[in-house]
Symmetry: D2
Subunit: 339 residues, 4 copies
């Protein structure tokens, strides 16, 4: 364990995603603080900043990046504003987490790439957050491990309950399928070389003018065929699934049942080997809940009464174990403090 500083972050854009990142950096992320927020809407920026200790509000991204205590930048403004914000961050040589898309088109993305190359080192992480999903990470590890052999096909589905007003066919690609492109490239470690888009007769749930669902086929430079159902008015839920078909088996995620493989005559998943992996999240949540309650001046969770009752039941159970018969449990009356 080495000591580490607290990173001061400037969050650019305080819309839905930006505000959520402010909450996350302030309440969930360890080792970070929100030092500044930026929004062209000065009032909104101020409102968000007021909720966070020591956070300043700006309307100009470059100005925020120059401010005291800003060590890094999280860009969550609309896509067309990304290029300017990225170049400003490069000017201050600040680490950036940039929500997807990097920029709205390949030409502007190329300009950013050239600028970062001039900087001489990587400074940008793009917000393709599926790479941090536990199921995708397990699938990636399985494919990389090679036990299933070379991947041949990916069958992916991206399903949304419904599209918001104003949704267009282009958004099917740029807002939804874009995640599938990154996932395919990352899982396979290959580039996509061609795209075909097929379409059934649109669902009656699809808005006028939107061809939903669509079926995209990607070909990769490694010879893998990737098909993607993009189904944005499926009605029943949000569902992101992937099935990798490899030379010696298949693996799939996204059914709410973890990573399921089919290999060597068996289907199924793995079992945790100790409580650390099974209950790691529970330990993390327990301690966070305690810290959060403490910060509010409260005490929550299992009480001394619960600890006492467990001790009394344990004593009865040890006697039942030793004596071979049913043993009653005697508890004192429950004090008012624990009711």
């Amino acid at each position: 364990m080495t000591q580490r500083p607290t990173i001061g972050v400037a969050v650019v854009g305080t819309g839905r995603m930006g505000a959520d990142h402010v909450r996350r950096l302030d309440r969930v992320t360890s080792g970070a603080r929100v030092a500044a927020v930026v929004d062209v809407d000065a009032e909104r920026a101020k409102r968000v900043a007021d909720g966070v200790e020591g956070c300043a509000a700006f309307t100009d991204a470059a100005q925020a990046m120059a401010a005291d205590g800003v060590d890094a930048v999280l860009i969550a403004s609309p896509g067309p504003a990304h290029e300017a914000a990225l170049l400003a961050a490069f000017a201050h040589d600040l680490p950036v987490l940039c929500e997807k898309p990097l920029t709205p088109d390949a030409a502007s993305a190329l300009r950013v790439m050239e600028a970062e190359q001039r900087l001489g080192h990587r400074r940008v992480q793009v917000g393709f957050m599926r790479r941090y999903d536990a199921e995708y990470q397990r699938l990636k590890a399985l494919l990389d491990g090679g036990d299933l052999g070379r991947p041949l096909m990916l069958h992916n589905q991206h399903r949304n309950v419904s599209t918001p007003p104003g949704f267009t066919n282009e958004m099917t690609v740029n807002d939804s399928a874009v995640h599938e492109m990154d996932v395919a490239r990352w899982l396979l470690d290959q580039e996509i070389t061609a795209v075909t888009v097929l379409r059934p007769r649109p669902s009656s749930s699809a808005p006028d003018g939107v061809d939903d669902p669509q079926f995209l086929v990607f070909e990769t430079d490694g010879g893998v065929l990737v098909d993607v159902e993009v189904n944005l008015n499926c009605g029943f839920g949000y569902q992101v699934r992937a099935e990798a078909v490899c030379e010696r088996g298949t693996a799939r995620i996204g059914d709410g049942v973890g990573l399921v493989t089919h290999t060597a005559g068996r289907w199924g998943g793995t079992i945790d080997q100790d409580f650390v992996t099974r209950f790691e999240d529970a330990y993390d949540r327990q301690v966070q809940a305690w810290i959060d309650a403490t910060a509010r001046g409260e005490t929550v969770g299992p009480s001394v009464w619960d600890g006492y009752a467990a001790a009394a039941v344990c004593e009865a159970a040890v006697r039942a174990q030793q004596e071979g018969h049913r043993v009653p449990v005697d508890l004192v009356d429950r004090p008012p403090l624990y009711r």
Copy 2:
């Protein structure tokens, strides 16, 4: 959103659990810092403290609690040391997270309970961390919601790969079944009134002198029958399962497939309704990974190249969509910075 302070924690005990809590408070928990560590082994305390910024080492818990910057206490020392540490925390009126067991027996637990009552308000949270597990929480919410009717029975299993050297029959109760006691009490909101322990012929995997597995039956004051398989040398994995049998259906957790219900002629689970619930953890992990890398002076994760490649594939896909045929993707050569 309201502003909040950073809570300075004194961690008492720096063995396996204590050291893990230090790591958690320092690296995972938001809004906390480890202000002090305590261990009767001064060298071990110092070694752990050295890895954390601004952390002091102590051999005496009461002294640590009096130190500057200590706002709360996490007790992870051996059970017999808990009572003294708890009373010391009460003397400083500090919030406590106390690893289970609260104390090793009902009599000492009663003394702690009386002391907290004299304090006049709750200060202790006991470390029954299963209450913070996502599956248990969903099961609890379902039972509380009442859709399945009144619970009639719980069928629980607690399985470990194997017991460590020196394991005894009493530890089956005090170290393992104790979690099941708390879970039953909490899920049902009822007290346990009697215990019976049944045993098949021991497994040949069980150490000499340990009756493993055991089968515990709890009766509650609400008339629920709880049976618990405690199977600590099962060999195949760590597995904690619970099935609640209610008047109108059943619900179970622990099979690695989430919460599965059987009700009204159907079995199954629920589907996320939006990306927030499906990918909340991925967003949290993404930002934490970025902050951690930034603190190390590194940039990791999806790069500008990945952002550019996605933009290029999107452009091809929109053309494929509009023109109705296969469209090749043209990428520039991958610059060395991104290889």
Copy 3:
């Protein structure tokens, strides 16, 4: 393959179970015919006999067993009538399939056992039909194979939607739990040596005076502990489950997902290795449907049009395969005969 005769069966009892066995022997079972039916209700016997070619009606079981063409006896009369019918069958040395219970109590069962011993060879098969269920057979084969080690515990559930009017606590044992007793004895190849019955507070769905659910615990002479939830007013469905906990893993059935094992760090099931096992039932049903339709003078199922359409699509697919592009399928107009 050796040649074999058609077995003429006398069915004793034409109530719900008896009438269903007549249908089965006449329509489903290969190599059997219903030669006679017996019922104390002469009219009911005649009504059932009239529906079957060459079937005679009797009111006396012994008379039916003496009739021409009767090679075997299926007893489906009420339990108290079984002993007399069995002894009559022994007198004619006829093979018997006797619905459970063999007889209503141990003393009468002993008398039947002594009579069969005097006969000098087994003639009776008792109708514990779960032994013929595909899932139970797979579980039995797995346990017998020994891969999971010695069984330690069985956790079984027997759930019914609701009990019929007039149901009593004794029927919980004699009509429902009796199947679990046979299943436990058969799966383990062990005898039950003791029984305990535990009860939660009854479900509000249970009729007055019936303690439902109940929880039975069997001990066996091999040291296995068997627990059985008998839950006869569960409301949501009919469900028969069994989980065997063995020294090296667990196996369970009854969730509608086949046999699921937990062993060596993995959970899951097996995959068919060829179409014979996967589609054996489909082949059997296909041919039975064809024979049944032919007997009715009808032709059903996939038609020549379906055969033609498949041939035309195949031709297009082979061209698409060879030429590397989309190929349209041209069909002639569908003739009226196939609409």
Copy 4:
């Protein structure tokens, strides 16, 4: 219930499929007998006929169809011989079950279709046996019921462990994908209007010259897009899956877990409502096993001892129920007849 005759069947072709159908008609199918077998290999025909009571051997199909006792024809000869056999059956106006393919190409299928039309009524059932698979039938019923809305896409997979020697790309279509064509047409009640074949880089498990796997896309006259993975050297098992994506939900089969739907925020399957559906197959198998054993002069299955032991345990359980404590079970010594 109406009386019905026994159907005498001539089986044309006694290779693997033909011999299996002879066994099925003789041993499994109710109401059928194999009256004749036909094979160009006279010796093979005689060998098969000898194993069946009252079965004659022929080398000419037309001759067999004219024989006494032949009421129907099952054609299991190689595809190129089907047309002649079908026309012969039409000449005798006999019902036919014809293994797929109907004929090897669309032109010959058209000729057969014209001949059947001249006959004036349907006489041919084509052996697309998947229509008789329980899972496909449940999926078909669900789609027909309309609860999920109009189907938009089908995602199907057909996986084999490995291809036999001599396998060609054309056989991928004609032997394997042909089933998927019929299934798509039948499930949707629509015709296929176009086919595209896509291919990833072949698996290293694929034989030289065979492009395996392949990915077929069918378009239908109802606007449904059907994609089919045909993966004939997948190595791990035989697997036939189908997922229907409809306007209000999805349904899939083939994972060994029955029919699983995703609809209205929930995934899962249905639960049987009574023992008739849950154990129907067990009852059928039980009676068939009894008849088969009887025909062999044997008695198998649960014995009088099993009936007695169950009665003794029931008596103990009723006492345990009434008296509220553990009750031992006393059995007489097991007689030698039942060991």
